[in-house]
């Protein structure tokens, strides 16, 4: 039995990797070089604090994934030799506004209660934070530290996944744009832009923003929209920053990454000066010593967003064997997708409870 996976981003490849580890046969179809790819443009956080403030089960699911991350990274390294620079020493969020900090503390407190108390984080005032991160500037009034957070090199992750899928015997076809699907229970045939076809007994739609078009053919609503995020990267610097934050992290090559903005402007992935300037201001506010540092590149990428921002895991009600997966935080959730989703995809018994994430909520 072959499972077709449409989409070779971090979501599709993680599921493919997990299925292959279980000995399943997998064919991944991935689009062209110029497609929108959140997997290439993302910030690289394995981030927990603040996630799922209104949805404790999302918080739990993310946390479960973070817990699985070390093993997942280890598996990838063993198989491919690629060290994807996972670091989970905790993360810090910086605040320059008193009210924002207070609001965030309140949100985290209530989430902590909702998940039963096991939700470690600490509130730091300016001087407390300065002990942890001596480079902060006077505008930073305080911050939140949580040992749950971490980061990874998302591009190495993508490379390791591509390599791992091939090494485990998976078929990964790139430049394979799916343009149509003929579906029946446990019999799926997809048509590619170049006229080729591919067949499988199961199918996972993990096509990021491409899902909204293909979804209905498999009986999914697939209500995803693009949300633009811009990111800046500086020249390489000597290492100084031990902890990532939601907006600033020093990547393993030395550059400081700054981001990401949020803009509801549709499928537009062009960067703009106003946003670049805003991100630069934020960086210099938090770390004044970055003022003379060169920005070498910026980019805009498109987040794959469901209406409430939470993941969607949906079995087709129309065709047996069809699944739809999408999420915003595909890096954070990659480990769960590789380790836990395969059971849900093949439909065996020990499935994770994903009922909170069905499409029925829309």
């Amino acid at each position: 039995m072959t499972t077709l996976i449409i989409g070779g981003g971090v979501v599709g490849l993680s599921i493919a990797f997990g299925l292959l580890q279980q000995g399943k046969s997998v064919l991944v179809l991935d689009g062209g070089d110029g497609d929108f790819r959140a997997s290439r443009g993302n910030f690289g956080l394995v981030w927990i604090q603040g996630k799922g403030v209104d949805c404790p089960s999302y918080s739990n699911w993310s946390r479960r994934s973070a817990g699985l991350w070390p093993g997942y990274a280890e598996d990838l390294k063993k198989l491919t030799g690629i060290d994807i620079s996972l670091s989970q020493k905790g993360g810090v969020d910086y605040f320059t506004d008193e009210t924002e900090l207070k609001d965030r503390i309140a949100a985290l407190e209530s989430l902590k209660q909702a998940v039963g108390g096991d939700y470690p984080f600490e509130v730091l005032d300016h001087s407390g934070l300065k002990k942890l991160v001596p480079e902060i500037g006077p505008k930073v009034i305080g911050g939140l530290y949580s040992p749950m957070d971490g980061h990874v090199n998302p591009l190495l992750l993508l490379q390791a996944l591509s390599s791992a899928v091939r090494r485990l015997g998976g078929d990964l076809r790139t430049g394979a744009q799916v343009v149509g699907i003929e579906a029946a229970d446990r019999a799926f045939s997809v048509r590619l832009a170049n006229g080729d076809r591919a067949e499988g007994e199961a199918i996972v739609l993990a096509a990021g923003l491409g899902a909204s078009e293909l979804g209905p053919e498999l009986g999914f609503k697939a209500p995803v929209r693009a949300q633009q995020g811009q990111v800046l990267i500086t020249e390489r610097l000597p290492f100084f920053l031990n902890y990532p934050s939601g907006t600033l992290r020093q990547v393993n090559e030395g550059g400081v990454q700054i981001g990401a903005s949020k803009a509801e402007i549709g499928a537009d992935d062009r960067e703009d000066l106003g946003t670049i300037a805003k991100l630069a201001r934020h960086a210099v506010d938090v770390f004044p010593h970055l003022a003379p540092v060169n920005l070498v590149r910026s980019w805009a990428a498109l987040r794959v967003m469901s209406p409430d921002g939470l993941p969607i895991y949906q079995r087709s009600t129309k065709y047996e064997g069809a699944r739809f997966v999408t999420c915003h935080s595909g890096i954070t959730l990659a480990a769960a997708h590789a380790r836990l989703l395969p059971d849900w995809v093949v439909g065996s018994n020990q499935v994770p409870d994903l009922s909170d994430f069905s499409e029925a909520r829309f």
């Binding site: 110029g34 591509s162 201001r281 970055l290 540092v293 920005l295």
Partner: protein, 463 residues
């Protein structure tokens, strides 16, 4: 922050940009010309306004021709912003640039991109060693450093290589040797374009006279050389190569590389204009009409940035681009537009006649188009040709995926010196045309800018 609005903004003050600015100003448009260099001239006429008699003597007649343009520009009413770095242009004609470490911007109704060419990458073993420069760099050092390379070895092919060698001879410092990659069969293939080239006979005559000068000066030439390597541990020490079945080695601490020039497409790519792969010149060029108008109705491209044609063609195409822009802005009548452009179009066609011959006679060498696995192709991130081939085996079809996998094109040069090579390698590995393989997406800033400068930049609120 208020910003200035111009009829026409021109990026690049080489022959194309200067000619465009002069033409547009003469016909009543408000014009701004932006350039990174302190003085107008571009690469070819760099510093001509302040050149010493000795520099003029060494660099020759063609260099001195720049005087006329520079003088006309200085007399014109075009505003010339020198010493500035453009780091973003938007599709709406907004131009952001740095001046004296301050972010500024202006706006234009029509934009003419005249950013010229860069030298084609020459990925050879050892090409990253100190002491290895491009031949063009050696020429720039004569123009704006007052320096000439001593006992240098020139490597590669193309008309410019002979010109630079002859200039070095005139400076009293002839190259130690020229290791040339073009072969007899390249010349044969070129011969069928000779008929057309004869229309541009002056260029051919000039080329032959340069070669004769080198011969007179006793410069040793090795044509049809292969397997070229720059040797050295911390800097260039020697060049080795094969020639007529023999292995040769020449000691030198200065190696000057050249495989022709290619359009600098950083700005046109950042604007996401349409580009096409030009088989004859083996590079991407922006798609333009006869007047240089690109796929954007407000952006034209003039000069080598629109396809390699040389200085004379660049100046003519600058004029044409200006006429086109003036016409679109209704600053000249239909009739003026047509009568003014007709003779320029005719002259340009004559000037271009020699190109097909030159392209065939001096193609980039196979060694640099298909570097061996161990050769570094991305200088910034030190990615090798073998790395790119490995990514191709992982399913990588285009340079953007290769960039994500291995960082080629992510360094400060943003793919200026690896982009074309990556496309060539992927195209060969995947059996897909260069056009379909595509090119790197170029993002702002086109050149690095400090966070402090950006942070200080305040945008007017959107209405």
């Amino acid at each position: 922050m208020s910003r200035d609005i111009y009829d026409i903004a021109i990026i690049g003050a080489g022959p194309a940009g200067m000619a465009a600015a002069i033409e547009a100003d003469r016909r009543g448009a408000s014009v701004v010309l932006l350039d990174e260099q302190p003085r107008p001239g571009g690469q070819i006429y760099r510093n001509v306004g302040i050149a010493t008699p000795r520099q003029r003597e060494v660099l020759g007649q063609d260099y001195a021709k720049g005087d006329a343009l520079v003088t006309a520009l200085e007399r014109s009413g075009a505003k010339h912003l020198s010493d500035i770095t453009v780091w973003q242009i938007t599709g709406t004609g907004r131009i952001a640039y740095s001046r004296k470490n301050q972010a500024e911007q202006l706006e234009a109704r029509q934009v003419i991109v005249a950013t010229g060419a860069t030298e084609r990458p020459v990925p050879l073993p050892g090409w990253t060693l100190p002491g290895v420069l491009t031949a063009g760099a050696a020429q720039i050092l004569m123009k704006s450093g007052g320096l000439v390379a001593e006992d240098a070895v020139l490597v590669g092919s193309g008309p410019l290589l002979y010109l630079i060698a002859a200039q070095m001879v005139a400076a009293g410092s002839p190259p130690k040797a020229m290791i040339e990659t073009q072969t007899g069969s390249d010349l044969q293939a070129a011969m069928k374009h000779l008929g057309g080239a004869l229309r541009g006979w002056r260029y051919l005559a000039k080329g032959l006279s340069l070669i004769a000068q080198l011969k007179r000066a006793g410069v040793r030439r090795y044509t049809g050389a292969g397997d070229i390597k720059v040797l050295g541990s911390d800097r260039a020490e020697a060049v080795s190569f094969t020639w007529k079945g023999r292995e040769l080695r020449i000691e030198t601490d200065t190696v000057l590389l050249h495989q022709g020039v290619v359009p600098n497409t950083q700005i046109t790519r950042s604007l996401q204009l349409d580009h096409r792969y030009e088989e004859d010149q083996r590079c991407f060029v922006p798609v333009t009409d006869t007047f240089g108008l690109s796929s954007s109705p407000i952006v034209s491209v003039a000069g080598d940035g629109a396809g390699i044609g040389g200085a004379a063609v660049a100046a003519l195409s600058g004029q044409l681009a200006a006429l086109g822009a003036l016409h679109r802005l209704d600053l000249i009548t239909n009739e003026t537009f047509e009568t003014s452009s007709a003779p320029i179009l005719e002259t340009r066609a004559k000037e271009l006649a020699v190109r097909p011959f030159l392209d065939r006679a001096y193609p980039p060498s196979q060694q640099t188009l298909k570097p061996v696995d161990t050769t570094i192709i991305c200088r910034c991130e030190e990615v090798t040709a073998g790395d790119i081939r490995r990514y191709a085996a992982l399913g990588c079809k285009g340079p953007n995926q290769a960039k994500a996998f291995g960082r080629s094109g992510m360094g400060p040069c943003q793919g200026r010196y690896c982009g074309l090579t990556v496309t060539e390698i992927l195209s060969a590995e995947n059996g897909i045309s260069q056009q379909e393989t595509g090119a790197l997406r170029i993002r702002s800033p086109i050149k690095p800018v400090t966070l402090g400068e950006l942070a200080a930049y305040q945008e007017e609120e959107h209405a």
